[in-house]
Symmetry: C2
Subunit: 434 residues, 2 copies
């Protein structure tokens, strides 16, 4: 076999980015592989309106993905459609045709990846999904092989570029979330329906995949505690800065003596940490292993070209496996077998907390809040107040010493009944170990 042939299904941003890299970079790809990676077929519902790079030579163009999957020349199918419905059919059909699969589909891989992987093994083909998490960062390659000898303890990720863009814009310009979100939508960084990004669901899928790669556990996204960024406002950045911190949507996986805990939530992280420097639509992953200690990976989270690099690199890897006749040499989830995730509560983890209040000012407020904290045996650390024009919507912040989250939640629940509060307190952990 002097070449390996690829079929691309889905010619959106990532599909077109992938095609342009395969066309423009063909020479270098062949230098690395020692053989040619050919595009044999492409599929899009609107294939007629797509410009297929001429350098690719003759390519079957079709609006029917079944033609790509069934094409006798196609050795590998790249599923770049996204979502959990048609994409699943495409991948299942490819596997049934004994074609290897490369996918960028975080949603499907988070929901059904391990099961799809088992069908892939049974069919003797390869499944690769580098592009499914943190597009521009080769975090799959790192966790699958690069640091496979380590025993991982903690992963912190900034895995959703849209919410990171929104938070860092809010931080820089002091604009409220709706304003920044509208601007992000105008620039094409956020969808018309922004929920997947700002409510944390996109990041949650990615964390589910990373948890399997890092800890060998099969995680249902719904089992991950998830809290989005809707309640964060510019004043939270003011207070965070006074505390030497900033705010990021942090995806955290921690292996504790009781098991694995997973969460996606906004958190305060120290401004001096490397993760705090991640600005705009960038992604980052911070990994702590028992042996290799801290490693940190940073790059673009999305975009046609960065994600296209991940797809093309996967295609190259799979093409090599096909050429050398060794399917599934390395599990796409880094482990030969995945254990079941037993969701563990992190309510008994101890951390300092940030509590932000908006009140209708009157005497006795601090006394009332401090009384509730004292009743839960929570030690108050500091009370901060920025200057404010009105006494009727007065913000301030209380930080508390490392405390079980369970106690903080109970306090927040009790505080929420106080009539001088304009909304329930906003509680965020302050990550000490970052």
């Amino acid at each position: 076999m002097h070449e390996v042939s690829v079929g691309i299904v889905g010619l959106g941003n990532v599909g077109m980015g992938t095609l342009s890299i395969l066309a423009e970079n063909a020479g270098r790809i062949e230098e690395k592989l020692g053989f040619r990676l050919r595009v044999a077929a492409v599929c899009s519902r609107s294939v007629g309106s797509k410009t297929i790079p001429a350098e690719l030579g003759p390519v079957l163009k079709t609006a029917d993905w079944r033609e790509v999957v069934a094409h006798p020349d196609v050795d590998v199918v790249a599923e770049l459609v996204g979502g959990a419905t048609v994409a699943a059919e495409i991948i299942e059909a490819a596997i049934a045709h004994k074609k290897s699969v490369v996918t960028a589909n975080k949603e499907l891989m988070a929901l059904r990846g391990p099961e799809i992987w088992e069908s892939a093994i049974a069919a003797g083909i390869n499944l690769a999904m580098e592009a499914s998490v943190a597009g521009g960062i080769p975090i799959h390659a790192v966790l699958r092989e690069g640091i496979s000898g380590d025993r991982l303890q903690t992963i912190y990720g900034i895995l959703n570029g849209t919410s990171n863009y929104i938070l860092t814009e809010m931080e820089k310009h002091g604009a409220p979330l709706p304003t920044v979100l509208a601007e992000a939508q105008r620039l094409g960084y956020a969808e018309a329906d922004p929920s997947a990004d700002i409510d944390g669901f996109d990041a949650r899928s990615k964390l589910a995949i990373l948890a399997a790669l890092a800890f060998g556990q099969k995680v249902a996204p719904a089992d991950i505690y998830t809290e989005g960024i809707r309640r964060i406002s510019p004043m939270d950045f003011q207070y965070a800065h006074r505390l030497g911190h900033t705010i990021r949507l942090v995806c955290a996986a921690r292996m504790t003596s009781e098991g694995l805990t997973l969460s996606v939530r906004p958190a305060l992280i120290q401004t001096s940490t490397i993760l705090a420097g991640v600005q705009g639509a960038y992604n980052a992953v911070w990994v702590k292993g028992a042996y290799g200690a801290d490693t940190f990976y940073y790059g673009r989270g999305a975009g046609p070209h960065p994600t296209g690099v991940a797809v093309v690199s996967d295609l190259m890897r799979v093409a090599r496996e096909i050429r050398s006749g060794s399917p599934e040499r390395v599990s796409p989830f880094a482990h030969e077998r995945l254990g079941e995730f037993q969701p563990r509560s992190f309510l008994d983890q101890k951390r300092p907390f940030y509590l932000r209040f908006r009140v209708d000012d009157r005497p006795g407020i601090i006394a009332a809040l401090a009384g509730i904290l004292a009743g839960k045996h929570i030690s108050l650390e500091a009370v901060l107040q920025e200057p404010c024009d009105t006494k009727h919507d007065l913000p301030f912040v209380i930080t508390v010493e490392p405390t079980h989250e369970r106690a903080v939640r109970a306090a927040v629940e009790e505080m929420s009944k106080l009539e001088f509060l304009l909304e329930p307190p906003l509680a965020m952990p302050m990550e000490p170990s970052l």
Copy 2:
């Protein structure tokens, strides 16, 4: 084959770190591989004084590396001796015995890697060397497969932990190089003979290897322009900070329209960049590709455990190749064939420069220096002077606008003849693209 067996030659820090990971982490390694990675033999000149972890079970202990290489059970030899003499014999003997090789040896791989790799191919065995560059960072895995689809343009690395430790200590405490170096030696961060670290030779070997991985060129270390950190003093950090910069020993590889340029040298980099945040003995690699844009990798540069993780991860990769019967699926240099490096001069690259002077003060100094710059058509940007006690050893700095390095060097040469200078000017590029 229900297991793959390893022979470890060299039980220094890295060898002992590797053994302890193989012992303590055996369960998780087997979960990932689906088979056992067994240590069959170990070798050290002082093997009698080494404590071999009991969990490893029966292990041949010998002071003769030939016994390890010839041992019938050993499938992979880990060469952790270092240096370019005995290590070369060990690796050649292993290859002659058709044993795969994992090595942490930057010096040997930089000098003779491509040639050793060719013998490995001829013998049908694997050669892996993740630990040879930036121990704790899986940069080989990243460049070999993770982002193999990209076309790389620039790599900036901080690849020598000792000199980075010295520079950042000097920056923090204002102590001169001899003081910081003595402290680093006391702490075991620097060798009794520090030349390999502070004169840039260690970093140069690593850059030679990275250049092969990233650009597919066979680079002789001696062909890399190399300048160490001996002339950097605390006052340079004071001036750099005033300019919004810091100083790091930067390993740079740039693919230009004229070819690849390589250098190891101290340079000013903006404090706002992610590379400037690399403190102490950490390493980092910043990669710019045509498609994936910026990615950044950070971790420990050395140490028994971080480097041990790299060795163990390589052993796992090679063990998988052996089990699946596919030797040399991916070139250890990322490219199936390496081109010859044609050293290109970077003297025609344009950058702003920092020039630091020490003078015996008198009237007309600035005029004389500015005159020389004007004579070379170099535009002066700023003149900076920090307060100083004595007029007889007065430091100050001139920065110049982006200029061909050739012109700067000519100016420095002419300036060096001025009798009021206490030493030749110290010239460092200011890296604008970081």
